[in-house]
């Protein structure tokens, strides 16, 4: 298809800027002068994918190498997919507009389970066979990384190679190996066998599963000398690892349209529901000097007027105050606003609030996650009601009048009393505001309570737990709604059926590949979008494949059962998750990594917080 015709078609759909490319700082190379072409695919819309930091890091790092050209690919929205199929336009990369089927690598980033149907749809739009075994040639190789790779099994049929852990080093090791094998004209099989020997690389076709009569896994074993377990990769020194000095700056507005500066990886907290809190262990920090100079470069090279600090828990950064001082020095001068998301309630100090006050004032968001102290102890969210109220008071005194609170519903051991606790906590915050003698006149307080449905995830102490069934979740939502008596509290919740599907795929095994393919054929895509999600189609797909989704989502698993993700080693041991699960059941908390080592196993990486002086 010639460019002119393609551009005419862009104009027939919503937001052509999603597909036209040519943004500032996008990288265009001469394809005859590179050895490896990499199509970096984000299986969601442009606006979401372009907001993702991991993609920016790898795009910049790959393109820093002369022999690699990495381009961006996003899932076309429904309207443009229709146009593409009607006009036989294969999925193309934004920079060159070349079909991605001509590339050496097609790399997906798997950020959430609800994007899996888009992965299949994108392979299909590229004109490639969905299944790994049906793609016979060495290239294109379909590879995938991102947090969902900690349980890659539902995608095992489709993806040739998974990267487990942080990608900066392992991705390039694999690309170098590929160059070598491509040169000597090796077969795909030969390459896959060699690739599996790189630490952090998982080749699903080199593993087999036997099942028990009850459907659980009997054994899982490698062939062709592939390693028995796949060890997660981490970057040991964040100061020296590649970080982009410029981002591609989109023309159309994206979700996070700002500069982003990473400050550390991992989280010391160990909230028991949180997968990110375990799979990114151990905590490793960047130094304030490096953060400051990287942030400055990005702002200068993009023209962004806002920069956001990125980490799992900003206020746990050990050198937060000096870092903010350094940054505010130049951001204020240049009218750049500094955003600090992911603050924790318990160490939210007045000085910190003062610092944020120097920049733009927006709403405050906190995540107590559960309504009663008992349940917060169960999930190891170590914040107390007094801390929450004190923080809200500090915020109110600092001029804030809106507070947003996040909670989860359906947590293990949860009772109606815990749900009522959510409403009570909201009421206490409202009361706290009106008890202030110097509250702003004529301004009402607004407390937003947003409730999501708990999804038990692999590599958490709750990996053994069943998810509460959809009907019971709906009852809990209605009950909580009935507990809220004031209009000062704004209550919102989400339909639980996407959370159900998320639980199935988070804890699923490779038999789900058939369901995924069936659902894709039935037209499922963009499952994370309310306007596209069709639970009935998914249930039809499960039925056709004779698979009960409740087996994965709603079944309690014994500590002895072999989980589908047991060959993936993230450093944190199953023994630790078992002991944490037992502690959760008796509402006993675990101190954070800086208070006391809980012996999770992540010390095996010999880096970061595990070796800090306590």
């Amino acid at each position: 298809m010639d460019n002119k015709r393609l551009e005419q078609l862009f104009l027939s759909v919503q937001k052509p800027g999603r597909y036209s490319g040519g943004e500032i700082n996008s990288v265009v190379k001469d394809k005859s002068k590179v050895d490896v072409r990499f199509a970096f695919c984000f299986p969601d819309t442009y606006e979401i994918g372009m907001s993702h930091l991991g993609m920016k890091i790898l795009y910049s790092q790959f393109n820093a190498r002369e022999d690699i050209w990495c381009e961006r690919v996003f899932a076309p929205w429904i309207d443009f997919e229709k146009v593409m199929r009607e006009n036989n336009i294969p999925l193309f990369a934004l920079e060159s507009r070349d079909p991605i089927s001509e590339f050496d690598f097609i790399g997906f980033t798997l950020q959430y389970e609800m994007s899996y149907s888009n992965v299949l749809n994108m392979l299909d739009l590229a004109g490639l066979p969905l299944k790994s075994k049906d793609r016979k040639d060495l290239s294109p190789l379909v590879v995938a990384g991102g947090p969902c790779v900690c349980n890659p099994e539902p995608l095992a049929d489709f993806v040739d190679i998974f990267f487990f852990g942080e990608g900066e080093e392992v991705d390039l090791e694999l690309i170098d190996l590929y160059k070598e094998y491509k040169k000597k004209g090796a077969s795909k099989k030969e390459f896959l066998i060699a690739a599996a020997r790189i630490e952090g690389v998982y080749v699903p076709s080199l593993y087999h599963t036997d099942y028990n009569d009850d459907g659980t896994i009997k054994s899982f074993y490698p062939v062709e000398n592939a390693p028995k377990t796949v060890k997660k990769r981490i970057i040991s020194d964040l100061d020296s690892v590649h970080y982009p000095d410029r981002f591609v700056v989109p023309y159309i507005e994206i979700v996070h349209d700002r500069a982003v500066q990473e400050i550390f990886r991992g989280c010391i907290r160990g909230c028991r529901f949180c997968q990110a809190g375990y799979i990114y262990r151990p905590v490793r920090e960047k130094s304030p000097e490096v953060i400051n100079s990287q942030a400055k470069a990005i702002c200068e090279n993009t023209g962004y007027d806002e920069i956001s600090i990125s980490s799992l828990s900003t206020s746990d950064y050990t050198k937060l105050e000096p870092m903010l001082c350094d940054m505010l020095c130049w951001t204020e001068d240049k009218q750049i606003s500094l955003a600090l998301p992911s603050l924790r309630i318990d160490n939210f100090s007045e000085e910190l609030l003062e610092k944020i006050n120097h920049v733009r004032k927006s709403g405050l968001t906190f995540a107590p996650e559960a309504g009663t102290q008992r349940l917060r102890d169960v999930i190891n969210k170590n914040v107390t009601e007094e801390e929450i109220l004190r923080t809200c008071r500090t915020a109110f005194e600092g001029g804030y009048t809106a507070v947003k609170l996040y909670f989860m519903l359906g947590l293990p051991t949860e009772t109606d009393e815990d749900l009522k606790g959510i409403a009570d906590l909201g009421q206490k915050i409202v009361d706290e505001y009106y008890s202030m003698p110097n509250k702003p006149k004529g301004k009402a307080v607004s407390v937003s309570i947003s409730v999501s449905t708990f999804v038990p995830k692999p590599f958490t102490p709750f990996e053994f737990e069943p998810q509460v069934c959809i009907e019971e979740i709906r009852r809990k939502q209605e009950y909580l709604k009935s507990c809220i008596k004031t209009r000062k509290i704004n209550f919102s919740y989400h339909d639980s059926s996407t959370s159900f599907l998320e639980a199935v795929f988070a804890k699923g095994d490779r038999r789900l590949g058939a369901v995924l393919e069936e659902a894709f054929k039935l037209g499922c895509r963009f499952d994370g979008w309310d306007e596209c999600f069709q639970l009935d189609k998914w249930l039809e797909a499960f039925k056709k494949c004779n698979i009960d989704p409740a087996f994965y989502a709603n079944r309690e698993r014994s500590y002895e059962e072999i989980n589908p993700w047991e060959h993936m080693d993230c450093g944190v041991t199953k023994d630790f998750f078992v002991s944490e699960n037992k502690k959760a059941k008796s509402a006993v908390t675990t101190p954070n990594c800086r208070e006391k080592c809980a012996g999770c196993g992540a010390t095996c990486y010999k880096k970061g917080v595990c070796f800090e002086k306590r």
Partner: protein
């Protein structure tokens, strides 16, 4: 750049101004940002060779040439700063815009047909009013100038706040009222003119 809407273009130029480090006047509201305005918004899908953007520089020591140089150094190659100058007229004086419409065909018959259509004494189109109602309107008398050259049509139409006729209205009417197959066309705005047909500055 033709896929960049007017609002996106505005945001894009804000970033360009930031990158250039030229001291410009900021709005003083809740969310301060450099104050810039485009004299005449460009439709999505159009290219242009004549765009005017207004902004106020707060430091007198910058010469016009220096501003031009600074802006040019941070602009991508497909955005060219032609000139930096003091404004001469208020944007309300904009009266016309001239467009080039290049059809993707070598078929002179097609061009002859569209020429005949465009030169009719009356071309009734239906246009949505601001209230959302469809209103019939004759655009033939509104065409200030029209000429043809191979596969290109040059047309000058009313533009600005008073009366604004988008050239796609003429093309849409042509396809609706004749039985011609759709031919791709690139539309480029060539200039913005005042009531005396002088270039607006």
């Amino acid at each position: 750049m033709k896929f960049v809407s007017h609002l996106d273009m505005n945001r894009f130029m804000l970033r360009i101004i930031r990158k250039s480090s030229i001291p410009v006047w900021y709005t003083e509201g809740f969310n301060p940002h450099p104050y810039i305005t485009f004299a005449l918004p460009l439709s999505l899908g159009f290219e242009s060779e004549y765009e005017i953007m207004d902004f106020r520089v707060t430091d007198d020591s910058f010469s016009l040439d220096e501003i031009k140089e600074r802006l040019s150094s941070v602009c991508p190659e497909y955005i060219e700063i032609f000139k930096v100058a003091e404004p001469e007229k208020k944007t309300g004086k904009i009266a016309f815009a001239k467009y080039k419409i290049e059809f993707d065909t070598e078929n002179s018959l097609f061009i002859n047909k569209i020429e005949a259509f465009a030169k009719k004494e009356s071309i009734i189109i239906s246009k949505k009013t601001k209230k959302g109602k469809l209103k019939e309107m004759d655009i033939a008398p509104k065409i200030k100038e029209i000429s043809f050259e191979h596969n290109k049509m040059f047309i000058t139409l009313p533009a600005g706040g008073e009366d604004n006729i988008n050239p796609t209205l003429l093309l849409d009417a042509f396809y609706e009222q004749t039985d011609n197959d759709y031919v791709c066309a690139d539309i480029t705005r060539l200039s913005i003119l005042d009531g005396e047909m002088n270039e607006f500055k």
